[in-house]
């Protein structure tokens, strides 16, 4: 049948489409990939508007390297620290893959934060995108959760102290902190439960929310750039062009992660001992620990609570239609105050000696 069609084509003198086009048509007939060709404004291809997509590429890197690491990591408390050392010293490529995983996690946090700042700065959270802002804030919280659980998993003094802080915070929360108490499941070490959270619960939630996030971007369209006064006349490009530029940025990122993994691979700290506090948490949490240094353990709870309350409240408080930063002085000044406060608190923690809190 196919041969007959070919002959008919030749007889008719019609030029056959190139093989790549035909292959894509075959796939499109079955998967509908041409639906990705929908038009988006040209500014979507700028780096600032591609930060969300690049953050998603770090998720892919983290999943791939994470699957590798799970083949060798042992979440039993007696063996966890040694199994990380085993990966670094005895598994072929283990040190490199762990390095890429470590740096990709840092990159994901930074990129997600920059994406969030870009969305704030350009007013992209405003009507009708409030729900998608909340989805994004939830994903940001999950990224922080993944970083926290990843810190604990290496089960060194730093990871153990991070967990100890969380156990104390769970106590402060009372019934609400039940998941973080060892009492929830007395026969299973909490490290095993955090491992499950790190490799299944948190990535699963992020992937699910990512699908919702992307669906809502499609539903509402890429937000207009306030720097372009005449948005309707802006040229349009297919969404696939946005994807390929994100892919290109993703390759740059992958190269940087590889270089960092080779030149600055993460170490493994001493096996943990209870009852001392001698380490600093990862830099991402430093601002919270400045608060702890000043007002005690409650500072962590209050700091995180206030930051996320502000993020959640933002689209419901700032309801003015203007998106350009010059038209939103109160929101921009408030955002700058929050951002500079976080930076100042982070720097303050960097210069102090770890104090005993627990």
């Amino acid at each position: 049948m196919a041969r007959t069609t070919e002959v008919e084509h030749r007889d008719a003198g019609a030029a056959r489409p190139p093989w790549r086009r035909r292959a894509l048509d075959v796939i499109d007939d079955r998967l509908g990939i041409n639906a990705l060709q929908y038009p988006v404004p040209e500014h979507a291809n700028n780096l600032a508007w591609s930060l969300g997509g690049v953050t998603a590429t770090t998720l892919v890197v983290l999943i791939v390297t994470g699957v590798f690491l799970t083949q060798y990591y042992n979440p039993a408390p007696e063996a966890a620290n040694d199994s990380v050392r085993f990966i670094v010293k005895n598994v072929t490529g283990g040190r490199f893959v762990r390095g890429v995983h470590f740096w990709a996690a840092q990159a994901m946090y930074v990129l997600a934060a920059l994406h969030l700042i870009r969305v704030f700065f350009t007013g992209s959270y405003k009507k009708p995108r409030e729900a998608n802002w909340l989805v994004g804030v939830t994903m940001f919280a999950l990224v922080i959760g993944a970083l926290f659980t990843g810190t604990v998993l290496k089960w060194d003094q730093e990871g153990f102290e991070a967990l100890s802080h969380n156990l104390e915070i769970a106590r402060l929360l009372g019934g609400l902190g039940f998941w973080f108490t060892a009492n929830l499941s007395k026969n299973v070490p909490i490290l095993v439960r955090l491992y499950v959270a790190h490799v299944a619960i948190i990535p699963g939630l992020i992937l699910g929310l990512l699908a919702v996030h992307a669906m809502l971007v499609k539903r509402h369209g890429i937000s207009p750039s306030p720097a372009i006064p005449d948005a309707p006349s802006e040229p349009r490009e297919p969404f696939t062009h946005h994807l390929r530029r994100v892919g290109a940025f993703g390759l740059v990122l992958l190269g940087v992660l590889g270089v960092l993994a080779v030149l600055f691979p993460p170490g493994v700290g001493p096996t943990p001992v209870e009852g001392i506090e001698v380490t600093k948490p990862p830099w991402i949490f430093w601002w919270l620990f400045t608060l702890e240094n000043q007002i005690g353990l409650k500072g962590i709870l209050w700091g995180a609570g206030v930051l996320f309350a502000l993020l959640i409240a933002l689209p419901f408080v700032d309801r003015s239609p203007g998106r350009h930063w010059r038209k939103r002085p109160i929101a921009i000044v408030a955002g700058a105050v929050v951002l500079v406060t976080l930076i100042v608190f982070t720097i303050l923690e960097a210069v102090v000696t770890p104090a005993q809190h627990l």
Binding site: H43, D82, F86, P226, P270, G275, V278, S320, W325, V337
Partner: protein, 185 residues
Amino acid sequence: MRRARIGLALVLALAAPLALATPAGAHGAGESKKAVELVQQAIALIVNKPGDLAAAEEKVNDALKAPDKAGVDLPSVEQAKTALESRDAHRGRALLERAIGAKPHLSSVEPLAIREIPAERATGAEPGTKVATDPLPGRRGLETGDGALLLESLAVGVIGMGLAVRFRPTRGAGAPSGRGAPEEA
């Protein structure tokens, strides 16, 4: 401009008290009454803060005064105290490890094989290990294959950059650089 100055003043006002404030003190469950735990903590302090032995010395003193001295060889702890007072961290640590029956300093050289898990398993939030091992530094110079990985990573980055330039927006308009007038509300 005036608004920016007000914003800056607000931030400085917010940060200043924190820079001047004193850190909050400990508020935990208190010191252990078991000498064996205090010796473990002293070893961990030597491993984690090798340049500052004062905290480890304090823990050794606490261990010698602890009401529950079960499982600890006190003469070794006394010797460790003398060693730490003379700033000999290596000897002090080895003596403390011997005092609780641990293999001195060997855990990081001969790491416990993954299958050799002690019979007593940790539950809840127990650390599961008894003695702090030496840290494993991340950067130990370039190893075999690192050169190739470095070159491959650089190649991937350069290809990515080339593609990013090739796929850039045709007009390059719309960068959020603050150019252009604000949109009409």
